[in-house]
Symmetry: C2
Subunit: 316 residues, 2 copies
């Protein structure tokens, strides 16, 4: 193991470590839910597709609206109960994406996407997990208004945590898509890739959706071989992160690369190559001579890469 | 750490360690797919809802059918490409559940569910991962024939790996539901629970679906508190397992219990209590004086529990 590098304090993983008690047992109780809605401490986040509406205040930007305020902003498409924070009810309210875009012209509000909010640190980090919860859940509602089993229109029930089909009686639960995101490593080298979507100079982990009938570890090996042509042996889980773009769960791993020649799948990646540990350290520290960078700390990829740079990996 | 107990060889985790190369790059190529279908080495698994059709042969039960054989059994509802095994194409064919039930009366076949096949060891274990792949994928098709975005009928494309909506153009991908399954532990004691569905005397891990906007570790803590009233601190990932009943991905963890009083959620569990390590060892070895048991080795719960009994847990 190389000496520890000075990369500063390790920042918090974005959207994780929620302080919200989801109080799931309350969801099915319509009377309890009405009482929570009319609670004077009830507050709501307002979400329109990819956009989050923030209130400008003298103290900075505030993502919380009183219940009546939230409902007065625009037509409400859906509401959902996120849980309790120190006993105070928190909701998320969906407005139409067009309505959110229109609020950009109102100087009382800052309207922007959740990734920018997290990366730029626009609000207290404690708001990021419930915003992720609300965005993922409301995004699911927006695109699941019909029953995939029979095609009928469905109805939201249980405070926004289920949709029921009145025709075929099927109950539909919110969807969460598990994604394997991994760093293939071999000694003091690792493989990073660049997708079409990345900003210039940024390199990151490989990633892909876990498929039906597939273990996390098998998905890590398959995706690494498909995208970069690298065979992997052992896989070590690192950490996970909700990623509400739209409804992913990122499952971060290190993988033991057992082949070396890279073959790039040009449909998935524009580039992939081996990097030395020292070069990656300079990317994390934003001191790379050619300006190459790793992802921002809001993404689990940053932490997967940094953990390997600082501590290496032990495959069990 | 206590001395290692003699519990015999640790068996393979069910449905994992697939030898199938999914060859995902072939899925979108219709010509390549037709060639694979007409390949003389092409074979298919036949699945009707929860039931798998096995051929009786002199050498035992065989889950593989030649392409024409599979199609002759019953009307084909859906087909999907699973991948290649040593270059030989493997498919899964869906027939209607009623048709599979009817084949139970045909002495040429054994028709039973995948869990029984795995627990009773009816076929070579190498078939379990592709059967899990096929069952999860075909189960998704069976209940996703309509577009959740607009209600129109959708069409299977990409060799069964996507459904497209001709009306609103949305592409739908197979669904996989991540589930947290965990053993809360404190020194030489752990918490096990019993659900309504368990056979008498069986105790297992706690488990629950990971929700939108939630990290695996947060889901472990939430579910343990909801179901058994136990607060947990650190969480250590153990392993994962596809669980195609219908489309789950089991994510196995150990959790550091930091409270002790159990409060049972009677909607979820019929019982939960603390067990000593020695008692759990006797359950795994099937030598418990009162006949209590742990789950069968096909389930990840067996492995999560056994790993703690044999090796303890290190929370990082």
């Amino acid at each position: 193991m190389a000496a520890r590098l000075d990369l500063g304090t390790r920042p918090r993983l974005g959207y994780s470590a929620s302080r919200v008690d989801r109080a799931a047992e309350r969801r099915a109780d319509a009377d309890a839910m009405r009482a929570l809605e009319s609670n004077s401490r009830a507050r709501a986040y307002v979400i329109g597709g990819e956009l989050i509406v923030l209130r400008k205040t003298n103290e900075g930007l505030d993502p919380l609206f009183a219940w009546a305020e939230a409902r007065a902003l625009a037509g409400v498409a859906e509401t959902t109960f996120l849980g309790l924070v120190d006993g105070a009810p928190r909701f998320a309210v969906a407005i139409e994406p067009n309505a959110a875009t229109a609020l950009k012209d109102n100087s009382a509000f800052e309207v922007t996407d959740l990734r920018s909010i997290a990366v730029r640190g626009l609000i207290d980090a404690d708001h990021l997990p419930p915003l992720a919860e609300g965005k993922a859940l409301l995004g699911w509602h927006a695109h699941h208004r019909f029953c995939p089993n029979c095609g009928s229109a469905t109805q939201a029930v249980e405070a926004g945590w289920r949709r029921d089909c009145p025709a075929c009686q099927t109950q539909h639960f919110p969807r969460t898509d598990p994604v394997a995101i991994m760093l293939p490593v071999a000694g003091d080298r690792c493989v990073l890739g660049r997708s079409h979507r990345f900003q210039p100079g940024m390199w990151s982990c490989l990633a892909g959706y876990i498929e039906p009938g597939e273990a996390i570890e098998d998905a890590v090996r398959r995706e690494t071989r498909e995208e970069a042509g690298i065979a992997c042996g052992r896989v070590a889980y690192f950490a996970s992160q909700p990623w509400p773009f739209p409804t992913s769960l990122m499952i971060g791993c290190h993988a033991e690369a057992i082949s070396h020649e890279i073959v790039i799948d040009r449909n998935e990646l524009v580039d992939a190559r081996w990097f030395d540990r020292e070069e990656v350290a300079s990317m994390i520290a934003r001191k790379h001579p050619e300006g190459l960078t790793a992802p921002a700390p809001v993404a689990i990829a940053y932490h997967i890469i940094r953990a390997w740079v600082e501590d290496g990996v032990e495959f069990g």
